[in-house]
């Protein structure tokens, strides 16, 4: 019975030690685990200077401009406080549209434009049929007006 108790304590101690070590490690690497920077963080100069980083935010409504005859597209990314212009050339994900959350990977150029070579779309955890989404939007609009 005593041996069993000792073994239990030993296993618990090892587990606690590893748990604390991992928690400290994750705290130390907190910034590297952050997947993207928001426009506010970029404007505040928190994003790495002259290096590639990811910019995340919402596509400003009506800001998408496509250049006819090419894959070039430009749009604005906002977090409802700061807004940054983004340029990209390539295929966009299906979910890319006005108001959608996007994550662009690239660099800031000298003109203050974020030149992306990869654009990913982020979606939320809500799933519903289109009719429900419409009804919700309507209810939300009524509430505001």
């Amino acid at each position: 019975m005593k041996k069993r108790y000792q073994r239990g304590i030993r296993v618990a101690l090892v587990l606690a030690g590893v748990g604390i070590a991992v928690a400290l490690l994750l705290r130390a690497f907190d910034e590297n685990i952050l997947y993207f920077y928001t426009p506010v963080q970029v404007v505040a100069g928190e994003a790495p200077d002259g290096r590639r980083f990811r910019l995340g935010g919402l596509v400003t409504l009506g800001s998408i401009e496509r250049e006819p005859g090419s894959l070039k597209v430009s749009f604005l990314v906002t977090d409802n406080q700061e807004t940054l212009p983004v340029e990209y050339e390539g295929v966009l994900p299906d979910l890319f549209r006005d108001g959608q959350g996007v994550i662009a990977h690239g660099t800031m150029n000298d003109n203050g434009i974020f030149v992306a070579d990869e654009v990913l779309a982020k979606h939320d955890e809500d799933y519903m049929p289109p009719e429900v989404a419409e009804a919700l939007e309507k209810a939300h609009g009524d509430e505001e007006s």
Partner: protein, 241 residues
């Protein structure tokens, strides 16, 4: 109470009980998965954003939740085996590892297939994706550590400790989408309030998770029985069988 504990830990008793339960769990898994497949692919409406593409959720979420469940069960069994020196518990842990690894692989693969059209990428070094990949390596590490040791008792103890230590990854996977900015969206089923998912989309998903759970239980019992046969090959009760 202790008597029950010891009786459950006795291999002949488990062998008989599992033999009786396997067909029931197998049948339940089959029925649940078939009904949930019909519910998910035919009855559930298309999503307002992702259209019919969201239906891969009915494979992705059950495999991902089973991968976490399988790991927690394996670590618990290994812990019981280490502390109480119950061989049957180590047999359960050893039997669970390959099934858990398969669920993890399935979750990563379906996530990748889902990510390409919706997010625009097969893979991203995002907190959720990376921690789930580490889970796969933990399963594989546990299995290779077992395979590297010919002595069953030593293999049980070494791999059991790895399984127990690796359990710290389970809460990290679950909370990764809350702790860090990530590409992966937050939890749907566990979310409180707000319409995270409508009822006609939710019930096939929950039923599919239950079906995957029954399937996991079925395969786990079959595999544990074969582990028991191998470990107890020289014992009296087996010769009588």
């Amino acid at each position: 109470m202790w008597k029950l504990f010891h009786q459950f830990g006795s291999p002949p008793h488990f062998y008989r009980l599992a033999g009786y339960l396997i067909p029931w769990f197998g049948a339940a898994a089959l029925i649940l998965i078939l009904v949930a497949t019909y519910g998910g692919l035919v009855l559930a409406p298309a999503d307002y954003q992702q259209g019919d593409g969201f239906r891969i959720i009915y494979v992705h979420v059950p495999s991902a939740s089973m991968s976490l469940f399988a790991y927690t069960l394996m670590a618990t069994a290994a812990g019981i085996g280490l502390i109480w020196r119950i061989k049957l518990a180590h047999a359960v842990a050893a039997a669970a590892a390959p099934i858990g690894a398969s669920f993890t692989f399935l979750a990563l693969a379906t996530g990748s297939i889902w990510g390409k059209p919706m997010w625009g990428t097969w893979w991203a070094w995002d907190a959720r994706l990376t921690s789930e990949l580490i889970l796969l390596f933990l399963f594989l590490g546990y299995m290779s550590l077992r395979a590297a040791n010919d002595d069953t008792g030593k293999a049980d103890r070494a791999s059991g400790l790895l399984a127990v230590v690796g359990v710290v990854n389970v809460p990290i996977i679950h909370y990764s989408v809350e702790w860090w900015n990530s590409l992966h969206q937050g939890a749907t089923i566990m979310k409180l309030g707000k319409p995270a998912i409508t009822g006609d989309m939710l019930w096939p998903l929950l039923m599919m998770i239950a079906g995957f759970g029954c399937y996991f239980a079925t395969v786990l019992m079959i595999r544990t029985r074969s582990q028991v046969l191998q470990r107890e090959r020289n014992t009296h009760w087996l010769k009588e069988l």
